[in-house]
Every structure is written in structure tokens, then in C-alpha cells.
Symmetry: C2
Subunit: 232 residues, 2 copies
DNA sequence: GTCTATATTAAGATAGAC
DNA sequence: GTCTATCTTAATATAGAC
């Protein structure tokens, strides 16, 4: 008699699920490399060997954790961007506000989901093994293209190279601040007596990023250096 | 007969120096935790045990590597900031330009020094052990205070809390982009056929950060949330 | 699918001869 | 100060009984 499907249908978390949920929390807390399979399995209350049984190896587990978030985030972002691009005029601020809602919706998926996802994203980008970054860019190229299209509509004066760099500045600011959000929120709470949740943080980020990405391109300095370099 | 001082005077790198230089390069390449003492000693051509002999333990070695950069960077930054603060009017852009030169000067200290230092700084901030962050803030509080003073002179409308967050956005953008500068520069070179060195990168960062930090404070959104939260 | 037990590898650190 | 040799710990991963 097979009862396995009953367990899955009834939502009772099986071993595979427990591993995924626990790994996600621990990865977000300490990073991929700093989290051992032992910690994961201990906290999940499952056997050490089950990770390898269900996911093959650790790298595969990491992909599974990140993938679950991307599947929720990217389609939601795509909807927002399509709606935005249907407009006649696009303000830079609205482009970043389009990211805010899909990101916040991850908090519905799981407690603290937005922060966890961003931290995973940051680690994916900067971690030793570059395979995660490749995985994301290739899987969601179309959504990323929509995003840059919206930015360029908001500020057509941006040349592609400037845009390239500014979007990476943006990514850096987001990743860093979300990764440190817990520690930073505590400091802010001590010093300014104001509670800062994810939404407050994003509302602070939006004007900063919109101003930064939308800033007039200053060719004074860079052009001078470039010409000097070309004459060498 | 003592010849040790001859070695040191003549600039012949002794074991302790070799370890420091090699560790610095490897830390920047792969991070603190990802770099083993075995890698360091092998590449430096010294014995494994010598790390513990000269530096006690690994954590101490990390501090020594970062400390050498801070000693060069912080006083230079202080000079620039003092000069800036002597002016009547301060533009936001000039505050960030004040950081540019001290940072670039690290390239004179060692090839690629600016990028290495920033990467170390980023890792110091986000690494598991929070001891490095504490070390920096306490040791160089005065310089950091000068920096925030300059920012506030450039935009007196900034409330302390907004400034706090925006400076962390700034730090995130810098750290991330410098840490990924090698990979990103290669992509940019492929796609836009332009070489990007450290100075170009900083010249691109300055307008972005100046606009972001200097942006008008938007209390619309945050205030609404705050009030809602307070009424709960 | 899950368990115990173990193989394998690699890390940081130290003892003690030279 | 430097070396060899070794200790201790902890990681990923697998074999094989149940």
C-alpha cells in the first residue's frame, strides 16, 4: 500500500521539503559555504545522508533554494514591468517601485522572504562558484530586458555603458543593505528610535536609486581619461 | 654575527612580509574564509607553521592585512576632508571626489591596491565574524565623522536617519562593484569596446552617489508607513 | 526512504628537532 | 626562525543494513 502521495497531498512536509526550508533559512543567515549539511539536517530533524539522497550534492541544493524564489519573483516582476511599459511616460522612480511590490510579496511566501531572497541573490552573484549568476541571467533574460527597457524609457539620455554600470551600482546597494538589514536595522533602532521594516527600507532605496540612475551623465572626467588612454 | 637587520634594511622580504603580501592577494581573490593557510604558505614559498609563529592565528593575519591598507588610506582621506571642510561651500560631488584620490593612491602602494582594499573592506563588513567592522569603526571614528560632516554641509536638509541609510547604500554600491570590478570590466570591454580602469570606475561612481545621497528626501511613503506602524 | 557507520579530504593549529 | 610530523576537528559524501 502506497501512502507517500497522501503525505504530499496533505501538505505534511516530507524530508525533502524540510531540508529545503531549513537550508533556505540557514543559507540566508550565514551564507552557502558557511552552512554545513550537518547544521541543515540537524535543525531539520532529518538524517545527514538524506541531503545527498534527495539533492545529489550541496550545490544542487543551493540551486533548488534559490530557484523556488526566482519562480515566485520573476513572473511577478514581469507583470509589473509590462504594465509600466504600457504607459506613455515612465518616471525613473516608478521603475524601481515596480520592483518593490514583487519583492515585498516574497514576505507572503515566507517570513522575511524578501530579505532572504536578496541575500541569496547577493551571494549568488559574488560567491566563488560563478554558476549561480549564469543560471539566473540565462533563465530570466526576458524579464531583465524588460527592466532595462523601462529604465531607458525613463531616461533616454543614458548611454548603454553608463546604464550598465549604474545598474550594477544599484544591485550592489540593494544586495549589501538587504544582507546587512538585520544588523543595520538594529543600529538604526538604537540611534533613531524608529523601527525599520523591509517596506521602509525599500522606500528609502527607491529615491536614492532613482536619483542615482537618473543622474545626468557626466562625460567631463571619463572622456578625458579615455582619450588620454587611447593616445598611449 | 647578526645579519637579520641587513635583510630587512635591504628590502629583501622576510618570511613575515612574504606571508602578508601573499595573504593579501589571496584574500582579495577568494575571501578570508575561502583562503587556507596552506594556500598562502605554498604560494609564498614558506613553511606552513610560520603563519602561526609570526601571526599567532589566522584572524590576526587578516587584521594585519587590512590594517596596512587602513594606515595608508585613512590619513590621506583625512587630509582631503580637512581641506574640503575649510571651504565656504561644499558640493556633494566634491565630497565623493575627496575619497577618490586616497583610494586611487592605493594603486601606488601595490598593483590593483584600490580594488583589493575595497574588496577587503566589503568582506570585513559582511563576514561572519563581526570583529573587523568593529575594529575599523573604533580605530578611525574621527575620519568617519569628518566624512559625514562634509556630507551634511553639502546637503543640510538630510536628516540623520536618511543619511545613515544612504551612506550604507553608498558603501554597498562601492564594495560590490569593486569586488566584481574585474569580471564587470571584462563584460564591459566585450560589449562596449572600452577599457575601464579604477579611475574610470570611480568617475562613474561619483555622479551616481552624489545624486543618490543628495536626492531630496521623500517623506511621502515612509512617513505614511511609520504612522501606520505607530498606531498598531 | 531512512538509518548507522565510515570513507575521504582538508582545514587550523602545535610539538619538538634543528 | 624554520622545519617535519602530527593532532584535532569538521566538512562532504557514500556504502550497505533495514
Amino acid at each position: 500500500m502506497r501512502f507517500n502521495w497522501v503525505n504530499e497531498m496533505a501538505g505534511r512536509r516530507n524530508t525533502k521539503q524540510k531540508i529545503l526550508d531549513t537550508a533556505e533559512a540557514l543559507f540566508a543567515e550565514s551564507g552557502f559555504n558557511e552552512t554545513s549539511l550537518r547544521e541543515i539536517t540537524t535543525r531539520a530533524g532529518v538524517n545527514l545522508a538524506s541531503v545527498n539522497y534527495h539533492y545529489g550534492d550541496k550545490r544542487n541544493l543551493v540551486r533548488a533554494v534559490l530557484g523556488r524564489y526566482l519562480e515566485a519573483f520573476m513572473p511577478a516582476l514581469e507583470v509589473e514591468l509590462q504594465r509600466l511599459l504600457a504607459r506613455d511616460e515612465i518616471e525613473m522612480r516608478d521603475v524601481f517601485l515596480s520592483v518593490k511590490q514583487p519583492l515585498l510579496s516574497l514576505n507572503g511566501l515566507r517570513a522575511n522572504g524578501a530579505a532572504i531572497f536578496t541575500q541569496l541573490l547577493g551571494r549568488a552573484y559574488s560567491d566563488v562558484q560563478g554558476h549561480l549568476r549564469w543560471f539566473i541571467v540565462n533563465q530570466y533574460q526576458t524579464v531583465l530586458d524588460l527592466f532595462t527597457a523601462a529604465i531607458r524609457r525613463a531616461n533616454p539620455a543614458l548611454d548603454p555603458e553608463t546604464l550598465f554600470w549604474r545598474l550594477h551600482f544599484t544591485l550592489g546597494a540593494c544586495v549589501f543593505v538587504m544582507a546587512s538589514s538585520k544588523a543595520l536595522s538594529e543600529i538604526a533602532e538604537n540611534d533613531y528610535s524608529t523601527v525599520t521594516n523591509t517596506e521602509d527600507l525599500l522606500d528609502r532605496l527607491v529615491p536614492f536609486l532613482a536619483a542615482g540612475v537618473g543622474a545626468e551623465v557626466d562625460l567631463e572626467l571619463t572622456e578625458i581619461h579615455r582619450r588620454l588612454a587611447n593616445h598611449q
